[in-house]
Subunit: 667 residues, 2 copies
């Protein structure tokens, strides 16, 4: 078969190739994520033929604006260049790269080499002068006069002055700016940055069931009861109050206490079995109160420094209005009956999944999108999305982008406990934050490997981890077995490893640790199926520790970062050491945790002193949790932790310890 | 700034996402390379929502044909799938991936789980039957009858028969084939394979200067003299005879012996200073003979089992006809003079580089392309391209594709000794083979790291290394210092590490090792600037070793592969051990080299027995070079090599050694 001969390019004189750009997700298909003030460091391979010097600019702008801002890129090694820019506005950004042959720099380098070798450079200097005069013709007055002065110098000044001009960095900078940029190569893609508000990057979440908010045991809690509990939650220093679904609960197939098949009269059912004659996803369950109550809760929460996050679960009870209004939105069997949810051999008789393969999918997508819009109008800015991995990716990509465009500040937390690539993909297609495997990572190796992956590119470019100690579905074996120290350790880890973290309370602070049965991660007498009454003022509560650590988080911006996380080696497997630093580098926190809830553990830590900003032999660290101050020396230092006393140290690195020479009387 | 809301996709029900496909070079921008009979193993991440099973097909075809061939992909771990196909024709191939929801497999898996759990599956079986009948409607007769029989079985046979049908792999395969493939996802790209002829993948090259081909000392050698030397070259077992440029050499700025600035009368000049009044790149230097002589050499070489490779160097002497015919193809200084080539402070007064930024670049490109076409018409099928990294990438990409389309079987060797990413990029844009850093890789660590990189993806997908012991520009320190053993070691390494390798002779086999000066890699009295006379029949020649190793290469297809290269650990840094296997796996060669040219070295090798195809305790290896046979046992075996005797072992792995039970009399 004869092969077709190729066409020549329209312009065959573009000699610079830009490739292997980072960050770039899936060939630029998805945006990276930032919050205002964060930097985007861009690197690229810049390849060209021959010995010429390339000119490389990083271009960036707020999406939708016309003009690009330019940052000169700097060569690293092996044909790799870099530059960075700050995302100062809460808007989407774009960036790309522009390169061309830097004739002036090429000439400058070669001429300097000839000067060094003692060669005659008269003809060379005239070439440079010509370049300068050409550039001056298109430059504004101030630059033009500088360029012409240099040209004049090369045309006939003393050799010393000429060499000085050759080495003048201002000249190089003007020439880069005012070069005609002949045959410039644009990188083939314009890459995107999604800039979210700061809460997207850091926050402490508290999950609770409104049904158990009543102060009187046995009464069904209401949204008004939740308002009364706001000082309790805010007092512990949380930022977000997250509520499971608040909608009417179906009666058909309703589950009883401890997930039994037959509900007894008075059993409230699972809040995730959404919809009844009283309404669907845009209604409030009458037993919780009214929509007005909900709005009151949202505004009262705000007054307490809390945001309300609402659970959005796209599934229906058999009594949901949609089941009759939109029968095609559900799967039907050949006999006409509707498929309930299942994971064979498990069945979920109280839930119908949604059929995204229906013919009226465009209407379905809009109806689902409208649920976000409705609750946004009621003041909700944060959505915790239930099981997003069981709905199509294309739906999410459209829905989240549509809601973001209409609802400034909307944040979406992906509750997908599934395979890693699926979790990552959901983050790429628009989820702001994501649940993680944190709950099941207990050993030093597990925690180190997992959090290195989460805190480094490419994952850190798009996936914001949210670390949960427990959820209504997850009571881990570690918490079941380890007593109070286990709860303290897991809280300390979640709140210091994660810029975003959460607890499900009051089960957590009251250290509920009994599973429904051996080998299960379900809580015994779970609030998912019944009303619980909690003694929130119990003297044994972890409330004090939680309050203190949230205080430390607010005082130390280092802890509100994720990408700065670095691990430090220890010689005891039960000791985990890691540090974080803020963008300015003036706040550095080193956390050391004893992962063993049973025994005292001690050992040596090998500190990366550069990471900690230490350049002296001796330095002080201040334990913000335990209160102690330690004078440390060099990179190897000793730590001893008793789980009955303290789960770990949260050490503020204070830098150089003062010595005799630091005091007035020394001189 | 208000954000724009996104559009819905045209079809919102495609639920499968195909991503992270390998091999894929720069987002599919460049083809991977193969030779006929080689496999292309394709992997991809296949992601979808929920618990459904995806159907995944690898599609491939010869480019230009309409129909795709389909290969079912098989799941590995972590949502990764794979399949492979063979490139059986010497043509370009295309491949891509097609996925959709495999409703039948999803149903089959879930129904089997329910059967295992003892649940009633009557309604489920009816669903499966419906699917089978739907598929049967669109299937050819034989498949349709099988599908209908299964449907009937699910509609009412005995449970045992139904379970048997559920487990029937033929049914699954028919359903995959005849599924309606609703809402299928095509991978967004069609990826390409460039399939070259076998010589692209493996060959032994011999470089020589025709000017030194005369038998009588002092006379300028001719192309006719080269014909007389063909039996000498072919007798050593080489496949390719590579000649430096054969064109008229310029007189202006001509270099004298040992690269002196002033040539003396009779000095022949550098063959790379191309062009004189006698012609340019399409002429033969009169002192070498005529174009007819050249064609005679090509055809005589072919009769000796040799191909002639010609050097293509796109640069001109000041006397090249183009300098007057196309003045705009050269760089001019402000004073109107033409820039000679330079690498400040070094100057090349006998060479003008070509100005690819000229306005008439389309004509220039065609003129350069025509040089390849001209020599192809004279019978040349292999081109060694001089310094391609000093000409624009876009030119090469067009030129090589254009020549390949017009000239079946054309092979291009890239002579770019430059930075690694540039070398790799030249391979991506169309060069068939590439020179490497082999000449300067001497230690075990250097050789292991470098050849692991070259023999593994992604590099091995597009870069075919050519290993040269020496070139007219490169007489390495190792050869200068190590005496005869050094030449033997480097030859053994080149010819067994590299499927493609070359030597520059007779300097190599006659072990020329004197540099022009201390610290230089230039040969003293280099043929680049003068005629040399060689005693090719010298008893001290390495010819015997070369002949034997080329014989071994021809007898052992393992050595003609590159990607199969695997290193085996040794406990002595001077011992390098590596193996190769052919595609069938029935030819396995283990090479062990003593990298120390001075001392006897011994040590233990830790063999990867699986890689060697060994599954027994004891096995035999036969040294094809030294002749010895060794009975080896287990993975650790002892080796001792004296550089004065033998540079290494080339061991054919013979597999299981026979034991008592293998003989008739044992039973």
């Amino acid at each position: 078969m004869a092969k077709r001969t190729p066409h020549k390019p329209e312009e065959g004189r573009r000699r610079v190739l830009i490739t292997n750009v980072t960050p770039e997700l899936d060939g630029g298909r998805y945006p990276i994520k930032r919050t205002p003030g964060e930097a985007v460091r861009v690197e690229a391979d810049v390849l060209l033929d021959g010995r010429d010097v390339p000119a490389c600019l990083l271009l960036h702008r707020v999406a939708g604006r016309k003009a690009w801002r330019e940052v000169p890129m700097i060569p690293l090694v092996n044909d790799r260049w870099f530059a960075q820019f700050l995302t100062d506005e809460e808007a989407d950004y774009e960036y790309t790269i522009l390169c061309w042959i830097n004739r002036f720099e090429t000439w400058r380098r070669d001429t300097l080499k000839k000067v060094d070798a003692g060669l005659d450079v008269k003809a060379d200097l005239l070439e440079g002068a010509l370049q300068l005069r050409q550039a001056a013709a298109g430059a504004p007055a101030k630059a033009a006069s500088r360029l012409r002065a240099a040209a004049k110098c090369f045309e006939g000044s003393a050799p010393e002055a000429q060499v000085e001009s050759l080495n003048d960095p201002v000249l190089s900078s003007f020439m880069l700016q005012h070069d005609e940029r002949r045959f410039a190569s644009h990188y083939s893609k314009v890459l995107r940055v999604q800039v979210d508000r700061p809460r997207a990057a850091a926050g402490a979440w508290y999950e609770m069931f409104p049904r158990s908010a009543a102060l009187e045991p046995g009464r069904h809690g209401t949204l008004r009861d939740c308002i009364r509990l706001l000082p309790y939650v805010a007092g512990m220093g949380f930022d977000v109050l997250y509520l499971p679904p608040v909608h009417p609960i179906g009666g058909t197939g309703r589950k009883g206490k401890n997930n039994t098949l037959a509900a007894r009269p008075g059993d409230p059912g699972s809040p995730w079995a959404i919809g009844s004659a009283e309404g669907g996803h845009q209604a409030v369950a009458p037993e919780l109160g009214t929509l007005d109550d909900f709005c009151a809760l949202v505004s009262q929460a705000n007054r307490n420094g809390l945001e309300v996050a609402l659970d959005i679960a796209f599934q229906c009870s058999p009594n949901h209005p949609w089941v009759t209004e939109h029968p095609d939105w559900f799967y039907r069997r050949p006999d006409g009956s509707i498929h309930h949810a299942e994971n064979p051999p498990k069945k979920y008789e109280d839930i119908y999944p949604i059929n995204f393969e229906c013919d009226s999918w465009p209407q379905l997508w809009e109806a689902l999108r409208d649920i976000f819009l409705f609750w946004y109008r009621q003041g909700v800015r944060i959505f915790r999305v239930d099981n997003p991995h069981t709905k199509p990716f294309d739906f999410w990509e459209w829905c989240l982008a549509d809601v973001r465009a209409r609802c400034p500040g909307a944040i979406f937390l992906s509750e997908a406990f599934t395979r890693p690539k699926i979790m990552y993909h959901l983050a790429k297609i628009g989820f702001t934050q994501s649940y993680t495997y944190f709950a099941w990572r207990n050993t030093r190796w597990e925690l180190t490997e997992y959090f290195k992956e989460l805190s480094s590119p490419p994952v850190s470019e798009f996936f914001r981890p949210s670390l949960w100690t427990n959820t209504p579905d997850i009571l881990t074996e570690y918490l079941q077995a380890g007593g109070r120290p286990a709860f303290a350790v897991r809280f300390l880890l979640a709140s210091t490893l994660g810029a975003n973290y959460g607890i499900y309370g009051p089960a957590f602070e009251l250290m509920q640790n009994r599973p429904r049965e051996h080998g299960s991660e379900e809580y015994l007498d779970s609030e998912k199926y019944e009303i619980r009454s909690w003694d929130r003022e119990s003297p044994g509560s972890l409330r004090g520790l939680i309050t203190r650590i949230n205080e430390i988080r607010r005082e130390n911006p280092a802890l509100l970062t994720q990408k700065s996380l670095k691990f430090h080696p220890t010689d005891n497997e039960y000791l985990l050491a890691y540090s974080k630093r803020n963008a300015g580098g003036d706040n550095i926190i080193l956390t050391v945790v004893n992962l063993d809830p049973h025994y005292r553990q001690s050992g040596w830590i090998d500190l990366d002193l550069e990471e900690l900003g230490i350049d002296t032999e001796t330095f002080q660290v201040h334990d913000l949790l335990g209160g102690g101050r330690y004078l440390w020396s060099g990179s190897r230092n000793y730590v001893e932790l008793d789980p009955q006393m303290l789960p770990g140290h949260v050490l503020k690195v204070l830098g150089r310890a003062r010595r005799e020479g630091d005091f007035d009387y020394y001189d």
